[in-house]
């Protein structure tokens, strides 16, 4: 996968994740073009389209569009389900997720995505495991002593 974008029906970008190196200018241009293209499509049209030399897979959930750009060899249907699994993860974490959750807790949305996808590939597809990792991280708020207790037996060299 080359990148993933989340944007609203009004075309506001809510999350962007790039797995290929691009300049900010290019990213903005791609985002603008793609948001326009996807928003112009009618409901019931197919979820895939050719765009430049990439394949775009998108799906709308309530007011949000989830949109992934994959390469020629990549599997469209499994990408569609990557989107769905990510939505499920957000839903489970926030408890019936809505656009506002992602706006106000955008950093969490990024953390959850990193646990699920890394380098554009599925890292962990088990919902339980991903959520466990995130919730564990949420518990790790406090200081080093706490962590020492949690990982008893491991030495933490962080100053």
């Amino acid at each position: 996968m080359q990148f993933m974008l989340l944007f609203s029906r009004q075309g506001k970008l809510r999350l962007q994740k790039w797995y290929v190196p691009l300049s900010d200018k290019e990213k903005k241009k791609i985002t603008r073009e793609l948001v326009q293209t996807v928003l112009a499509r009618k409901p019931k049209m197919c979820s895939f389209l050719e765009w430049r030399d990439l394949k775009v897979v998108y799906k709308r959930y309530a007011s949000l569009y989830f949109c992934c750009a994959i390469e020629d060899q990549d599997n469209e249907l499994i990408t569609l389900e990557i989107i769905h699994r990510y939505v499920e993860l957000l839903d489970k974490y926030f408890g019936s997720v809505c656009e506002l959750d992602i706006i106000f807790n955008f950093e969490k949305a990024y953390f959850i995505l990193d646990e699920f996808l890394l380098g554009g590939e599925a890292q962990e597809t088990s919902k339980k495991t991903v959520l466990k990792a995130i919730e564990q991280a949420d518990l790790l708020q406090e200081n080093i002593d706490f962590q020492m207790r949690l990982f008893a037996g491991t030495v933490c060299k962080t100053p």
Binding site: L13, Q16, Y19, P21, K28, K42, K44, M45, C46, S47, F48, L49, E50, D72, Q73, N75, E76, L77, I78, L80, E81, H84, Y93, F94, G95, L100, D101, I103, F104, N105, F106, E107, K108, Y110, F111, D114, L118, G119, E121, A122, Q123, E124, T125, S126, K127, A133, Q136, A137, D138, L140, Q141, N143, I144, Q147, F151, V155, C156, K157, T158, P159
Partner: protein, 958 residues
Amino acid sequence: MPAVSKGDGMRGLAVFISDIRNCKSKEAEVKRINKELANIRSKFKGDKALDGYSKKKYVCKLLFIFLLGHDIDFGHMEAVNLLSSNKYTEKQIGYLFISVLVNSNSDLIRLINNGLKNDLNSRNPTFMNLALHCIANVGSREMAEAFASQIPSILVAGDTMDSVKQSAALCLLRLNRTCPDLVPMGEWTARVVHLLNDQHLGVVTSATSLITTLAQKSPEDFKTSIALAVARLSRIVTSASIDLQDYTYYFVAAPWLSVKLLRLLQCYTPPEDAALRSRLTECLETILNKAQEPPKSKKVQHSNAKNAVLFEAIALIIHYDSEPTLLVRACNQLGQFLQHRETNLRYLALESMCTLASSEFSHEAVKTHIDTVINALKTERDVSVRQRAVDLLYAMCDRSNSKQIVAEMLSYLENADYSIREEIVLKVAILAEKYAVDYTWYVDTILNLIRMAGDYVSEEVWYRVIQIVINRDDVQGYAAKTVFEALQAPACHENLVKVGGYILGEFGNLIAGDSRSSPLVQFDLLHSKFHLCSVPTRALLLSAYIKFINLFPEVKATIQEVLRSDSQLRNADVELQQRAIEYLRLSCIASTDILATVLEEMPPFPERESSILAKLKRKKGPGNVPDIDDARWNVNGNGNAEQSESAEGTNKFSPSLMADLLPTNRPRPASSSPTMLSAGTMGSAHPFTDLLNLNSSPSAGASLLVDVLSDSSTPASADVSEENFSRFVCKNNGVIFENQLLQIGLKSEYRQNLGRIYVFFGNKTSAQFLSFSSSVTSSDTLKTQLNVHTKPVDPTVEGGAQLQQILNIECLSDFTDAPVLDIQFRYGGALQNIAVKLPVMLNKFFQPTEMASQDFFQRWKQLGVPQQEVQTIFKAKHPMDTDVTNAKILGFGVALLDGVDPSPANFVGAGVIHTKNTQVGCLLRLEPNTQALMYRLTLRTSRESVSQRLCDLLSDQF
């Protein structure tokens, strides 16, 4: 405010976000942001040291501002500071900021790398994961340099936590994509492959992606992954849907992993091991069977996941392209999807079938769905689906259905979306040419294209129709009649005027007998369009007029009148003005003979790949033009050339394709005709054979003339082609050379020190080769070692014909060089020069010698002097297959001695080289090392030069 505030809420951040959302206008938002930026800047610069929480909050605000689309030029340092915080959430925000806003500021990179290093070494899995995620997200060269050697060891260490392994695998994948040179895999390869056996399916999922990426770059190193991947896949597809617990997704067992494993297998050819191969076939069959089972859930997620695996399995089946039953089953399955109610499935089925159409096993099966696909073209509401239908029709087109498909595409064109019209035009033009049996159909089709979608008919398309009409005299009369009729329409597209002008200028005489299309009528018709056309078209029409003066003396006065008018002679456009003046003068001063010579009909164009096809490739990328076999492509479209495998490889990116990619302004024959000389002596600056050259400016004209003249008088010396030379070491027959014009095949036989080669010259074009000659040259040394007698050949080779030449060879003494076959001929006026290295090698004069083990070792010992032995160790270039090696050694000319070598894996051979002067006995031994993929070859002969030469020849073959 959202109800959720897990982890630690940052109140200040939430307030700021609310403020932004409440802004009524863009200006208000910018104002609020600038206020916040000023606030943060002052906090960062302030005297009071900020606590970690505030730092995190401000960095997070900056991140939010950046993600809104504003530029951020400070705060990086504070973010880097957060990396060394003890608090997880502070560290996490620091990493997030860096991942999103990475800056190649070198000071910071060093600090960031330092933070990463601490966390990687912390042995705290959560921190390690944060660092690995950051490296994977940024993937910069600096990070690769710092960590590429450390991450593999984290990945394969026994005590690494599963989640860290997963991050490490994908982190390596990312670094490998950005800087493959920095990721050393060698020693880790086996252990990384072994991760496919890991108990944790998450680890396997990540590792499979990594291995796929690595295997694409160095397939040999990761070949062992095939067996593991098949085993894993087989366990997944045969498992009950609940076996894999949380890795089961809507009743589908591990769909992501299955897709990845199938993808990994596509890096390779089918497994060689029969048991493995049948296990994989079973898997693929099971996946196909499951598609027929009733769904376990009505949810779209269930069917998507299931079909994702199915499509990937079909992709693998197509990739292998070796199992006819599976291919046909795949095709039938896709056929069902073509009528599915889910648009997504219809889209994918069309896409996938496109590749199936190019397999010989499934092409016919795909064709049975033609009506459904045509229906899709007419009824699909989504343009991207219709586009797929067009692609599939193009891919499934062959001689049997070309008329129907071209007709359907033409009728679709009238209502087609603007975005895909040009591509459809190209496709129609290509199919019409490729499958034209009757060229009147071709001409009609292209004229229809211009009529219906003139704006989308690119220059390549109309150039091509002219090239073809000029090269085929059976269609010229029809073409002239048809364009004449088409031009009658009150409004016709300018492209039609161009084609019409060119064709009538060349072939108007063919229809001039009919009073309805008499010369004057033709001229009036063309000239009625003149004033509506652009300058380039007018220039072309002026050239057509001067051609008319030659063809039809009776309209000379009329045309001269037109040329003489002020609107021509004083035209503001310099090109038009010059043409008018020059053509007028030419028509006044030149005698009929000279005029006839100068304005002679265009010579045929050289056969080469269609420029239209080149254009489509450029549009779609070379990989995406399905199933047009380049080797079979030529102007005649007669598909005669079922060429050898070598032709395809060389033709695909041949120079002529490159030439076509360069801007050509009009279809221009590569050659000049002999009339050039007379044009030159007339003292004109214009190359008159190239009269219609739209782009000739006075200055360019002269140099062009020089180029063309020198081109035809002194042919460029050709490089000696030796690309197929080494293929003939172990065989005697085959194609030694091939280009667009000529194919050279060889059949050779040798006995003792004598040999005979039958050389076959195949003219691939439809035109004659003239002044054909073929001779053999040898270096001075070689002349003393090898006699070659050539029989002269007929100087003319008809289009499509084959000419045979016999070479007699005598080997006088051992030799190293090879003789060169020089071929010269004239094609369309241009002299062609081809030189081919003849595969006459020393080993051709072998006589095999059978001998018993005892004799062999006795002789082996006799040849024990160091100079008599030559040994080389080399890496295998081809799969190490015993049967193939056997065949090659036999083909080399020696006897293969069984049971001589104590190790059955080794090959031992013996033979005698016959020359006129002496005979040289030769023993050879080849020891394969299948683990290292290396060979050791040892040769012993009584003569050092012979040992060396034979060793060089043979070691190149494995």
